[in-house]
Symmetry: C2
Amino acid sequence: MDARHLTLLRELAERGSVAAVAAATHRTPSAVSQQLRTASRDLGVPLVEPDGRGVRLTGAGRLLAQGAADVETALADVQARLDSYRGRAVGTVGVAALPSAAAYLLPRATLTLAAQGIDVRLTDADLPESGYAPLTADHDLVIGHSLTGDTLRGSGHLVRTVLAREPIDVALPADHPLAGRDRLRPDDLAGQPWVSVPEGFPFAEILRAVELHTGRPARRVQELTDNTLVAAFVAAGHGLGLLPRYATGLPDRLVLRPLVGVPARRWIVALARPDRARRVVVRRVLEELLAAAP
Amino acid sequence: MDARHLTLLRELAERGSVAAVAAATHRTPSAVSQQLRTASRDLGVPLVEPDGRGVRLTGAGRLLAQGAADVETALADVQARLDSYRGRAVGTVGVAALPSAAAYLLPRATLTLAAQGIDVRLTDADLPESGYAPLTADHDLVIGHSLTGDTLRGSGHLVRTVLAREPIDVALPADHPLAGRDRLRPDDLAGQPWVSVPEGFPFAEILRAVELHTGRPARRVQELTDNTLVAAFVAAGHGLGLLPRYATGLPDRLVLRPLVGVPARRWIVALARPDRARRVVVRRVLEELLAAAP
DNA sequence: GTTTCTTACGGGTTTCGTAAACATA
DNA sequence: TATGTTTACGAAACCCGTAAGAAAC
């Protein structure tokens, strides 16, 4: 029972093809194929079977891929204890994050961490809620958002950490008739045009809730993902928008008003594979993110 | 972090010398020494330091050796799940056992298991209580005995299974004056000569308890470990003896009488390293041993 | 025809044993 | 001197990339 073979199977289970595993591990498909063959010989079980042009894990292969997580977690635990013992935890942590949260969570934290020798490599990813979990294959930490409770879709086997609970406000031009209100209820918004987001993004569900509450469909004049773009369209008078309260860099002509009467908040959640979550540097980054959260 | 390096360090922690590790893993000391060097280079920490003619683990080395147990247990768990999945668990299980318990626990069980393709390789070991735990390095299961509760000395990090709780009786010749009693109290035994066992063996503590109870020292005419030998000496009239109740092959001229008034029983305990205890075949052997216990 | 995987085949690295050197009791 | 570990060096094993072949869309 070789731990490297288990890791290989887990990669294959996650990525689905020999070529993808090869690319992710900086090897050729040939090498991966040969390792699968020797693993199968060592274990005495067929691990993959042809499936169309590609391959598919057998039952035994899936079983072993699942077991790999425990082994890798145990190994990461040992590494973490060694790093703690030596006192100095330095290195690189790969973080993928949705931009609107990264903007207020990461700039300060990254400076603090860099001073301690921890290099945070950030990748921004503006995705539907279900898109964040798969990124954990390629990043140590993935910061996503979710409206449905404090969980995040497809993250069952991952370590989850809630970083913030952020209200979602209605954005509108400063000279809009509704801008005078302290807060807005769904009924106030009936008949308004919206600069919304595509299906699958958390904010889309809030607008749906408003529709359900008022009984009238909302008119979506645009469906955009970039909050800065949404803000620019709203400021220009195209319609109302939904923006997270801690968003930065909004135009002066824009105001945010709390939305009450429907659940209007998102959870900012950090995801990580169990083995990666054990690394000392990853835990340090998480601590700093929690400290940076409002 | 290579699992093989961790295993190497655990072996070294258990066996104490490069030569012993080499012998146990069927390699030369040269190979072991070189692996230690590469492990140290990979991990970036000194793992061993000279100590007299031999070596000693550094703090980091000990830390990693401890961590190896978790990794190996996780690996053994995966192997066990695979074996269960495939349905057929066959193979060899190495068992070390104290002879007096093995005599009634193993002969039947070994036949049953052999019929299922499980080969039990038995080694007998008549040792002081503290001698059994170290045997787990070389045997999958170690069956020892203990008087002090249901535990066994030095077995803190091992998996323990109580197989039986066996009364220790007084053995005496059939024509001995005390042979007429149904049961014997410590006061009945004051002044009798004894065929005893060396210090450290569980039965020695029972005789000590008798001495404490009566206030008079017992006279030890022999100190022997082999129960058959003890029985022969007792039958020949050299003195009284202490024998486990389920002992087999006793001479006809010998009778056993329960000893009451002092704790007179031993626990038969199976020990195993956590990773070995996970193996499906090892669990099967344990089940069979529990079934064979009185 | 393109994509994906697998199979020779050759080169580079790793691993291990023999033999010698080294250190300590 | 005897014991235990490490180093030098060569052979075997292993790992991986290139190139060619096979199967599916």
